[in-house]
Amino acid sequence: MARLLRAPLALAAPAMVAVVVSLVPLVYLINTSLQRGVQQLIDEIFVSRTATLVMRSLALTVVVTVACAVLGTINAWFVVRSSAPLRPLWLMLLAMPLAIPSYLSAFAWITWIPSLNGYFGAAIVLTLASYPYVMLPVAAMLRGADPQLEDVAQSLGVSPLRSITRVTLRQVSPAIWAGSLLVALYVVSDFGAVATMRLETFTWVIYGAYRAGFNPTRAATLSLVLIGVALLLVVLERRVRGRTVQRVGSGSARHAVRQSPLSLTLPAMAVAITSLGFGIGVPVISSISWTRSSGFVDWAEVWSTIAASFGVGALTGLATVLLALPVGILLARFKGRLNGFTEGAVYVTHSLPGIVIALSVVYFGISIARPFYQQIPLLVFGQMIIFLPLVVGSVRTSIEQSRPAYEDVARSLGISRMKTIFRVTIPLAIPGIAAGGALAVLGAVKELPTTLILRPTGLDTLATSIWKYSSVSDFGAIGPYAVALMLLAALPTAVLSTVTVLRVIK
């Protein structure tokens, strides 16, 4: 039913502040790109090297996306529908590449096979890093899809493999599409893998133009083109996600415990083992072997780097959760005029690659927040903008999952709207809020380009240390940082994938 309540000011005001604050740096990005006039901007966009750049980025995106759609779907089927043992454990392991930053696995691959440098290396690394974006939604949808349809197909004389392609894949195709578009968004935004592989795509070229320093207009202009591509992907993703296949007919939902034939399970298991071996095995084994080969390790430096990473991560997590709460509550519970704007703004921010946000914050800092430029507050601010949409999504989903009847009851018992939010809405959403916070901490610890650009001089996090030593191929030094980062990132990932696992496979 339409809930026409308008939000109390005490909620709407902070939500608006959050949205506006996260959009302000964009204004400075646009301003910088227009510094030399509109004609200059148009010329810059239509020079031939921009076209080459677009083609190269597009080629990488298409190949990785298709590969992830295939790999993610097979792995999803394997963990939900195959007859393999220990499927929850498989799902948890298969989600683990999310914990490994792309620059780390890229560096592991080129130290193992140096000739992979370039397009193929970047494609392999990005595929292995981002197939979980397809696997998780497809697994969730497979779980909800009616397994009896496959039984019916087979009883009508269709082979097991054909019944999967003719029935099952049709059922989950919205999830495959939505996941694939997320992968595409991830690929165009990725900085670490392409930078390590020295592949000139958007993000790497933008970073180069920024570091060269003579021409801020070019970096800003290319950022605008990248925003355009990313926005397109986000719009497509939203349109696709709306289409879900409903189970026809009522009756109790029967959950799939099917004996899939070995002729299907075994090949799928081979795919899963390959994904794990290359996706987790290569970076983990490399990191361990680097650690062993390192002669002298400056442990004091390692520990202070871990502390810095965690400190910045915790600050970002806290700031992002505080900012995301009013936005999430507003979007989930108060359908008013402000919502369209808020939702749109959140989605725009969601599409912005880290490097673009970092550059916007730089221009913003130089123009009006000079005292904070290259200081912790501005670094946390930049990372907060990156992770705000993620945390808003997590908060919003968990609030939408609890029934509005709880709030209605509280109101009828004499509790005001704001008090109801603190006494009912927020306590019920605690798991989602905590998960969102964990996502932000994990992201901040892994985040490379924003940290590189916005950190105070002399501050090293795990991400920047790995970057620093990998660019001079100092394997010995990189080891402890790589192991520490993976251990640190594995923790929230394990928690998050356990939550997903519990939701997907019970």
Binding site: R3, A405, Y406, D408, V409, A410, R411, S412, L413, G414
Partner: protein, 344 residues
Amino acid sequence: MTTALELTGVTHAFDNAVVLDDVNLFVTEGKITALLGPSGVGKTTLLRIICGFETPQQGTVNICGRVVAHDGTSIVTPEHRGVGLVPQEGALFPHLTVAENVAFGLKRRRSSQARSRVQELLHLVDLESCADRHPAELSGGMQQRVALARALAPNPAIVLLDEPFASLDAALRVVVRTEIVEVIHRSKATALWVTHDQQEALSCADDVAVLLGHQVAQHGTPVDLYRSPNSRAVAEFVGEAVRVKGVARGLDATSVLGDISLVTAQHGNVTLIVRPEQIELEDQPNQTTPRGEVIASRFYGHDGEIDVRLPTGDVVVARLHARLLPAVGSVVALRVNGQALAFA
């Protein structure tokens, strides 16, 4: 007798689809009034209007002599209306214990008065031993009792129950609703009970308002509604109805079921309505006794029903004691016991 709640001319539409059209309703203090209607007739909207979550576009809502909403303006916010809500499935706060749930709407809920009020209510619903449990550890029926205790705790002017037993299975439902009715009576509370289950409405409420076609079609005691419905729609909605054509002359009518006396006088062609339990087997038939063939028989245990096809093609349903059920295919003679309703 004072009126705890009064709605006058309440009209409400969503996107031009009329949900409530000039609804007039009152609830007498100390009574349980059922709001009975099929799904989609606007019962839940009416409830939300009383609570204050929707504002009626026209009409007045009056709680205990205080106008709380009038013609598109909400005058009193939900938290100040003194209306206790028991939603579907109870909606107990899952993050709070049973005692904390009951204390939720009390002022200074850690004070000793609040604590003794919680004790009193848990005693009332017979759940004192569950005070420290969480809602997830309770059965569906227990959850409903806690939800009622929580709604009663701040002494509301009226308690609203929104299809409170829809989620319980049939066997449990009867037990739980008997308990709930008892608790409401014992606490001398006023209640408006929304339901689509006519058996529930007839057996639990002191008064029943039938909501049909977005309006209150009739308001009366359960016995009145069943015995003398004021329209064919109410007659067919409240209780099962057997319909046959007939010709009325005052308080008598002739029909395929023979001569029948009527509750109210009518003339000309009418539709006669009788209840299945009024149709009985005639053990001393004569030549004019209506006869028909049994085409279906349903055995329920304590009683049963047969479908009888009359020579005219009309099919009527009769409810009989289980041991009287004739075999399918046999020909039976029928008589109508008591008076029929007639509608033009």
